[in-house]
């Protein structure tokens, strides 16, 4: 009887009485509500998936599974920020996929389609030289982030790319904020070393 005995009666926009409560009449509205709150985070979820999974199609699958799972759990979602909640589900999906098929990227070469993957945004009024330079830098940085061990890679993606607060990162990776801080410091140390080394190579 979990929650199904609740029945709310209210006057809807049309002036008709509206009854909600119980899964049976709520199904249509649930999907709409879910889409409204979850789909705006699709790019952020997809971005984390691309960094956690080996290639584009595995990332696609993981994101799809994440959204279907999130929809199933949506009844038990008790408010709060949606983005870390979705990212936590995605992370579980990716880890599950890893334990089954070892598809999670752990420092393997994942640059399958760097050139094809379009940037999400562009700075205005940049010269072709600047564009080329930035593309080179972006491709390098993506590769360097991919080469980080998974536990450091995910905090970098969540903080630097998906722009989550420490609190939201803690929620997404299910760890205390102290752990988030120490991992992020270590991750930046590793990334900086790799970045300097890549500069020496080029």
């Amino acid at each position: 009887m979990n929650g199904v005995d609740r029945l709310t009666v209210s006057v809807g926009e049309t002036g008709h009485l509206v009854m909600t409560g119980g899964r049976e009449f709520d199904a249509g509205g649930k999907a709409d509500r879910f889409k409204q709150v979850a789909l705006p985070h699709l790019d952020a979820v997809y971005t984390l998936a691309r960094y956690l999974m080996r290639n584009r199609s595995d990332a696609d699958d993981a994101v799809q599974e994440c959204y279907l799972r999130a929809y199933r759990y949506f009844d038990t979602f008790r408010g709060g920020p949606v983005k870390p909640w979705l990212l936590a589900i995605l992370r579980n999906v990716c880890h599950g996929a890893h334990s089954e098929n070892t598809r999670l990227v752990y420092g393997e070469d994942a640059g399958d389609d760097e050139a094809a993957a379009g940037p999400l945004w562009r700075e205005q009024a940049e010269t072709p030289e600047q564009t080329a330079m930035r593309h080179a830098d972006s491709a390098t940085m993506r590769r360097l982030i991919r080469e980080l061990p998974a536990e450091f890679r995910e905090v970098i993606v969540l903080r630097e790319i998906n722009d989550l607060s420490y609190r939201d990162i803690a929620a997404a990776i299910d760890a205390p904020i102290g752990t988030v801080m120490s991992r992020l410091a270590r991750a930046r140390g590793l990334l900086r070393e790799a970045w300097l080394a890549s500069g020496d190579d080029e």
Binding site: R23, L42, Y67, S182
Partner: protein, 251 residues
């Protein structure tokens, strides 16, 4: 503040996670400590390399479409209702054909079946959106008078709460192009629509149970009333409902 403490707080400073007081302390330490000042510069340089880069990925359109397409269908209750609706759509098409007269001879024998089809479709419609009840009350003395002036005959409204079926309310529906009373009950998460209309004859016929488009329909005739109880409840529970209702009606 020691350098060890400061090192980790430098990240929090760069990330804007420190409150004003802590930020001032860290900045004071950095001002006095060349090592930590160097670390902060390195941190900002790394950040300067990361932040302007295109590191995000845009989800491809096909992925967005696939997810949107799969979402409602992936929920079991919606899936079964969708399937049932498809089944009904065919029934409705057949009914529409019947209206042309072409199928009249065939459907004449199936008159009962057609009414059943319409009963189930009315049940399905009632589950969509805010269509379930026009009068919402668990009090039979509120629900029953609501029908006054809306229908030629006032339908029986029984309080079956003690028997495990909660009265939710009622509405007027249309079956076979005639207005018909629909009284709504709930058993756990299951909605029961009880449709009733005056019968031409006062007799009684035994109840029959049929399954249609995934719903069970119990139909019977007593005290000059035709009754159809429709639900996704299991047949034995729906039979139980019918018997409890009849018992209350006879009392």
């Amino acid at each position: 503040m020691t350098c060890d403490e400061a090192t980790i707080l430098l990240h929090a400073l760069v990330d804007g996670e420190l409150d004003a007081g802590n930020a001032r302390e860290v900045e004071a330490h950095v001002a006095a400590c060349p090592d930590c000042a160097a670390t902060l510069r390195e941190l900002r340089a790394l950040r300067g390399a990361i932040r302007p880069a295109d590191l995000r990925y845009a989800a491809p359109d096909h992925l967005r479409r696939t997810i949107e397409g799969k979402l409602p269908a992936s929920a079991p209750p919606v899936a079964s209702r969708r399937a049932a609706l498809k089944g009904f759509a065919f029934g409705a098409a057949a009914s529409a054909l019947a209206a042309t007269g072409l199928l009249f001879i065939v459907t004449r024998d199936d008159e009962r079946q057609r009414v059943l089809d319409e009963i189930v479709s009315a049940h399905l419609r009632s589950l969509q959106g805010d269509h379930l009840a026009d009068v919402v009350s668990s009090d039979q003395h509120t629900v029953k008078p609501w029908f006054n002036g809306r229908l030629a005959a006032s339908p029986p409204v029984m309080d079956l709460t003690a028997q495990g079926f909660t009265l939710l309310g009622a509405r007027i529906d249309f079956v076979d192009a005639r207005p018909i009373a629909a009284i709504v009950y709930r058993r756990r998460v299951h909605i029961i629509n009880l449709f009733c209309e005056p019968a031409a004859s006062p007799g009684e016929t035994a109840a029959t149970m049929q399954s249609l488009h995934g719903f069970n329909v119990r139909s019977w005739h007593e005290k000059g009333i035709h009754l159809w109880a429709v639900s996704d409840l299991a047949p034995d529970e729906l039979r139980d409902f019918g018997e409890k209702f009849s018992a209350a009606l006879t009392r």
